[in-house]
């Protein structure tokens, strides 16, 4: 292991290239503010953005109305009288059976499920993807093909086999069991994502590191990881959203004291008897979606930086 210094120089060299490319003037397009191109470009983007925002607008507006207004009015009209009652109700008062403490009840449970599940599933899948892309061994592609087909199996079908497996392992009803389930179902797509990403990195980089004498884990941690920020961000988006919004596994594989927030959301949104409180539904929806939204917002910065780092690919 005498060649670490050389390895470091190699990486540093690439860093230098990347930062030059990212910050240097590319001069691709001359910029004029009101060129036809810009009008078309921003016009299209704005129209598209409006389409994507419309339902959000409806949700926000509805969540600020009182029930009588919701029943009478048009869904697009702004609230005549703004009330935060639905938000308070969704967060702290909405009842799930006998427990009337709203979404707040499951929030920390969701966090407790989310963090280990996201970390473990991404860690396992990125290493698998890396092994598949750079360290091909006999039979690896077969396993991978099975995995890809696995992505197409409806979750519901797998409930029975998984119940049996977890029962045999003695971890049915535990957090560990749930983390494993999320890791399993995240694996096909994530492994594919990482495998393809690692495969698209310049192979010379890998070869150089090998010549420098770096091993499996060394290359993974010192070369692959630093260059893979964008794909980690994408993987995180996928997993945070999927796991946070998961209802089926959360409720089947845990017990009521560890139910995630989606159980309460489902209870608020899906109560089929009694009056449907659309304003509370919408507030609950927005509150539940807040965590993934914040993650997206924060990861946006990472995304940009990661993309700058990835600019050397090709």
């Amino acid at each position: 292991m005498a060649d670490i210094s050389t390895l470091n120089t190699t990486v540093a060299g690439f860093d230098a290239v990347s930062s030059r490319l990212a910050s240097g003037p590319s001069g691709r397009k001359p910029r004029r503010m009101l060129s036809t191109r810009n009008i078309v470009l921003y016009g299209t983007l704005t129209v598209a953005a409006l389409y994507y925002l419309l339902p959000l607008y409806v949700m926000v507006v509805t969540s600020l109305k009182g029930m009588p207004e919701v029943r009478l009015g048009n869904i697009f009209s702004p609230p005549l009288e703004i009330t935060f009652e639905p938000w308070v109700k969704a967060w702290a008062q909405a009842c799930t059976g006998l427990n009337c403490d709203g979404l707040s009840r499951g929030f920390w449970n969701s966090v407790r499920i989310l963090v280990p599940s996201v970390v473990v599933s991404i860690a396992v899948a990125s290493v698998s993807g890396y092994a598949l892309a750079n360290w091909r061994f006999k039979g690896a592609e077969l396993f991978f093909s099975i995995l890809i087909i696995g992505a197409f199996i409806p979750y519901q079908v797998m409930i029975y086999p998984i119940v049996i497996v977890l029962r045999e392992l003695g971890i049915y009803g535990t957090l560990t069991g749930l983390v494993i389930v999320h890791t399993i179902f995240g694996m096909p797509i994530l492994t594919l994502l990482f495998r393809n990403y690692f495969a698209s990195l310049p192979v010379e980089l890998f070869k150089a590191a090998r010549i420098d004498g770096a091993g499996f884990w060394q290359i993974y941690f010192r070369i692959m990881l630093p260059m893979s920020l964008p794909i980690f961000v994408v993987a995180m988006i996928l997993q945070v959203t999927g796991i946070w919004n998961d209802f089926l596994f959360g409720v089947v594989f845990t017990r009521p004291d560890t139910y995630p927030m989606t159980v309460q959301l489902n209870n608020i949104v899906n109560s089929v008897q009694g009056v449907k409180e659309y304003n509370v539904n919408m507030a609950a929806t927005l509150l539940t979606g807040a965590v993934p939204l914040i993650v997206y917002f924060l990861s946006g910065r990472l995304f940009v930086r990661g993309i700058a780092a990835g600019a050397v690919k090709g």
Partner: protein
């Protein structure tokens, strides 16, 4: 460690060992869960299991009943329509948005967040919101009518002929942001020099995209394709939230058939038979492709 592997394709056992150890979780999941679970499911699809799996074989009875069911046939047709359109529109819209976002625009962060945020909401919620927006009584139709165009009709969720498109609208709204994100990550992986070279050669932009950039983004497209396609096959929550399969059976999908028969009808055998058919179809399409894509090619 030996520092002189000349081909970059190591054969030494101890080197591969690390990779193999690291792949153990993947192998276990592939073999025990996906392969094992599938075999188990197929096995029990030949039984008349009701609420609990039981080994009481009835041959192909479940399959005969499945294909005699008009609801299953409708489900398959819907999945075909929904699948093809969803695949095309997701890829086209996602790529176009990504290409627009890649023009060194201002407010990129804002636009990206706007396009991506629907993905943060679960399908249950997406379905609810769109069910509302598409409701003829107080949604888009009533608003446009109140503006004076009184004959305007847009009620996809209550018209059996077009209900599947109503579901498609909501699905695209929810899912295209992620496709855009994946495409953007792919586009950003393209070297600037390629653009420069294309410009020097005077190749128009659309041609550069079509003939140079897209072929270079092959891995990204494959990832995206698998993500979209697997989502299509599994589509369930959205349909339940928007129409619960209605009007009538007009928007039923196979995954819902599987789930309904497994748990509502308490007929595991029937549900497993349906899911076996789904898997078989997927396997027929995916296996040859996966073999060509992942098995055949060698990488240096």
């Amino acid at each position: 460690m030996a520092a002189h592997a000349p081909t970059g394709r190591p054969n030494q056992l101890f080197r591969n060992l690390n990779a193999k150890i690291a792949s153990i979780p993947m192998m276990l999941v592939a073999l025990v869960i996906f392969l094992g679970g599938t075999i188990w499911t197929v096995f029990y699809s030949f039984t008349n299991s009701r609420l609990l799996p039981r080994l009481n074989f009835v041959g192909l009875d479940q399959y005969e009943r499945l294909w005699a069911s008009s609801r299953w046939i409708i489900s398959i047709q819907n999945l075909a329509i929904y699948g093809i359109l969803s695949l095309i529109f997701s890829l086209v819209i996602g790529f176009m948005l990504a290409a627009l976002m890649d023009q060194k625009i201002r407010f990129e962060n804002t636009f990206r967040t706007i396009f991506l945020y629907p993905f943060a909401l679960s399908f249950i919620v997406t379905g609810l919101v769109w069910q509302w927006m598409l409701n003829p009584e107080f949604g888009v139709q009533s608003v446009i009518r109140s503006l004076g165009w009184t004959s305007f009709a847009f009620d996809p969720l209550y018209n059996p002929d077009i209900v599947i498109y109503g579901i498609l609208i909501a699905a695209l709204w929810q899912g295209t942001g992620l496709v855009m994100c994946l495409m953007l990550a792919g586009l950003r992986g393209i070297d600037e020099d390629i653009w420069k070279a294309a410009r020097v050669d005077g190749i128009p932009m659309w041609k550069t995209y079509l003939l140079i950039i897209i072929p270079m983004m092959r891995p990204v497209f494959i990832t995206t394709l698998v993500i979209i396609a697997s989502g299509i096959v599994k589509v369930y929550d959205l349909v339940v939230a928007q129409t619960s399969g209605g009007p009538g059976n007009a928007s039923e999908v196979p995954a819902k058939y599987v789930y309904d028969y497994m748990f509502q009808a308490q007929n595991l055998g029937q549900g497993f038979a349906a899911s076996t058919m789904m898997l078989l179809t997927v396997a027929i399409i995916v296996v040859p492709w996966a073999y060509l894509e992942f098995g055949g090619r060698k990488r240096g």
